[in-house]
Amino acid sequence: MTTLIVVVGLAVYVLLYLTYGKKLERDVVKATDDETPSKRMYDGVDYVPAKAPVLFGHHFASIAGAAPIVGPVLAMAWGWVPGLLWVWFGNIFIGAVHDYLALMSSVRYDGRSVQFVASDVITKRTGKTFYWLVFFLLILVIGAFGAVLGNMFVGNGQVPSAYILKLVAALILGVLMYRVKMNFTAATLIGIVMLVLAIIGGHQMPINASRGTWMVVMFFYIIIASAIPVNVLLQPRDYLNSWLLYIGLAIGGLAAIFSFTGFTAPAFTSFAPIVSGGQPSPFWPVIPLIIACGSLSGFHSLVGSGTTSKQLESEKHGLPIGYGAMLTEGFLSTIVIISVAGFGLSIIQGAGQDLTVANWGNAYAGAMNASFGAATTFTNSYAAMVDSTFLSIIPTEIVKVIAGMWVASFAMTTLDTTNRLGRYCLSEIVLPMKEKNEGMYNFITNRWIASTIPALIGIYLAWSGSFTILWPSFGSANQLIASIALLTGAAWVTKRQKAKNVNVVLIPAYLLWITVTAAIIWFSVVVLPGTIEANPTTGIVVLIIEIVMLIMNFVFIIDFLKNKDKPLVSEA
């Protein structure tokens, strides 16, 4: 079954890429051989063309993260079919389209970001909204990933140990590459060796600490990592992460194909099983909040229109890079679903949880969370899947550490970069305050205050909140940005492209907006009251964020509808 789904998934993606994707390229984006900004505005600084495979690698590495792994694990509560359908068709018809349009509209706008495009095709106010939404997203992502990491580190002490060793390896690699200026290939080899040693070392020397301890450690890690120069830690560490990604993908892909195991998880449990906050969660509209990045992610529009668009060598490369990279990420989520579908049940049962095919709908979320947490459920299922193939020569415990490191690494890169960005967004948000209340403005933008606010709120949420609450709230901010970005793409297609079949984009965009809005309302009304009761501060903080985002969301759609048939802001 695992093999079957892998093959079917691959086929679905490839087929629809060649048919639907090409159609988008031809009729909607109308990709030409015109010079892209990377050539037209070449400046050797920002605008530099990159060869397609290189840019693909870069773009894919930027959008790949821990979210496409964690989300689908939670979504298994609906059974494996609904999540899979969203990862396939949600991705193909909405998510990848979103990425592709954000990229191409940016290319046509001289490499300007989706934020800028939005302020031209919709209104200036929409552009400003991005600062707020990104800021909230940064806080919530620290909360969500902090919770994921906390659970994972407590569940398996080998993982944090291996991760810390990997940090040391990154520091050493940084010195080798940037100080000693060792030959790059040599440094890479040493880096890979150190990575392997870190994995083995972590396995041999687990670190056991309480969840609270990990929260404190993560808080200080965020503060420190966002202050030290990028050459010391960030850059070499991101490089090591790429190798980890290759290893993880390679092993996972092979295992999925050669596993030939049947699924033990039910295909479909019910329309509204228990997913978030112990509440029955209807598949529509909640699914986007759960599986965010594997199918659709607002982050990607920023990445694509922020750096990728300025380096695109040819408009024809947009489809494989913008559309294709997202499909690849969907494929990654497919493998995640396969591994949990095939091996999750026995693993969770093995932890003493009362989970069966019959009570899956009601019990899965709780049992998964209580036994291992989403990340470790994945790593253990992944390890089991690998074990069921010829790859079982690799000790299972080691495979668990590899998979755990993979998730941890990507989650941690999120943590330390969010603070840098959070500071920036915060200063942009409070800028209007400067005239009216200069004292408050100076306070908030003070270097130390601004550095700690996002991290503080985020880690507090992670510490006090439950994963099944924090994850959908992160999803909500992410999907809101995505729906605005997709509507921006739709507006661009309508106003700038004047394509005939705009509905191909417009209808999914509207549907997405409605879905996300409904999901957030549902979340605030059904789930959050319980949270407020259990943990008032956490619940109220999240609720306030959701409400502010919702208000901005409604202001946005009104702006969108009002300006739908008006000319561009720049041409008005």
Partner: protein, 306 residues
């Protein structure tokens, strides 16, 4: 070669004293150059001779005289740089240098720079030609700014050097890892030897350090000139404070136009000054006039040798 700067408020008689000092030094057998930086040039009037920015020999003596037109050299300097920039950036429309040209003529700092450049030039070119160079300076504020300029410039240059080194370091790293770093044929420098910018910065630093070291050194003196009145006192205190802050060596201070009527006030002023600056030597000076020859006579030797 030694230098003496005569400083003080406008009207206290520093031009006269510097002119007299120059003459006296020459009479003692020295080769002397008297330079005026004061925009209100009196040097030529005192010696009754037309002067320019080129040094001119006085009659057949070993005294040379020069009046530097700060405003003229300031605008010349600006013009030459603007011409160069206009040429190099002819294709750049963003910064409209043409319209900035006129504004820059009056921008603060250019007069100081012109003075500094003049000073640098004189120190460099005339150090072997003369035993003493006597300077008549502009009013207090401008003089203090001129004297502070070398150090200020050096501080800025140090900061810029620091940033430039970081830039070169990063370029080198990228070069090492990604291969040659150049765009459309222009190669970017990534070592200090190849980087004209940092070489220029080092160069500038050396030049200004040269001037700085000289005026702080044992061959340089600053003489403050004041009158026996309390207005003069305030100004002198300002000047002395500035000179102390800049670590510049003080020469004799002159209580000029000191007559019998001013005795009490004069004493009071001197007392204030010596209270604050106990190491200060003060000389009372009164220029007498020989009515018969209609020339001025100085009753004492202004400059003791140092």
């Amino acid at each position: 070669m030694k230098t003496i700067f005569f400083t003080g408020k406008g009207g206290v008689g520093k031009s006269t004293l510097s002119a007299a000092a120059a003459w006296q030094l020459m009479e003692r057998g020295n080769r002397v150059l008297a330079v005026s930086f004061d925009p209100a040039h009196n040097l030529g009037d005192i010696y009754n001779i037309k002067l320019s920015h080129k040094k001119k020999r006085f009659k057949r003596t070993n005294l040379y005289l020069q009046e530097t037109d700060l405003e003229k050299s300031a605008s010349e300097y600006i013009k030459s740089n603007m011409d160069l920039l206009k040429q190099v950036y002819s294709y750049m429309s963003t910064l409209n240098f043409d319209s900035y040209f006129d504004i820059l003529k009056y921008s603060p700092g250019v007069e100081e720079y012109a003075a500094l450049t003049s000073l640098e030039k004189i120190l460099k070119e005339e150090k072997d030609n003369f035993d003493y160079i006597v300077f008549d300076t502009p009013p207090t504020g401008l003089t203090l700014r001129i004297l502070a300029l070398p150090q200020l410039t050096i501080s800025w240059i140090d900061r810029l050097i620091k940033i430039r080194k970081q830039i070169l370091e990063k370029r080198y790293t990228i070069h090492k890892l990604s291969g040659t770093y150049d765009e459309k044929g222009t190669k970017l420098a990534y070592t200090e030897e190849e980087d004209t910018v940092i070489q220029n910065l080092y160069n500038m630093k050396d030049r200004y350090k040269g001037v700085q070291d000289f005026i702080q050194g044992e061959n340089s003196r600053i003489s403050v000139v004041f009158n026996p009145d309390f207005l003069s006192l305030r100004e002198s205190q300002r000047l002395l404070e500035g000179i102390y802050d800049l670590n510049l060596p003080l020469g004799t201070a002159f209580n000029n136009k000191f007559t019998e009527e001013e005795l009490e006030v004069g004493n009071g002023v001197e007392k204030e000054l010596t209270k604050q600056y106990p190491d200060l030597t003060i000389e009372r000076v009164l220029l007498g006039k020989n009515k018969k020859t209609d020339t001025y006579i100085m009753d004492k030797d202004l400059i003791k040798s140092f």
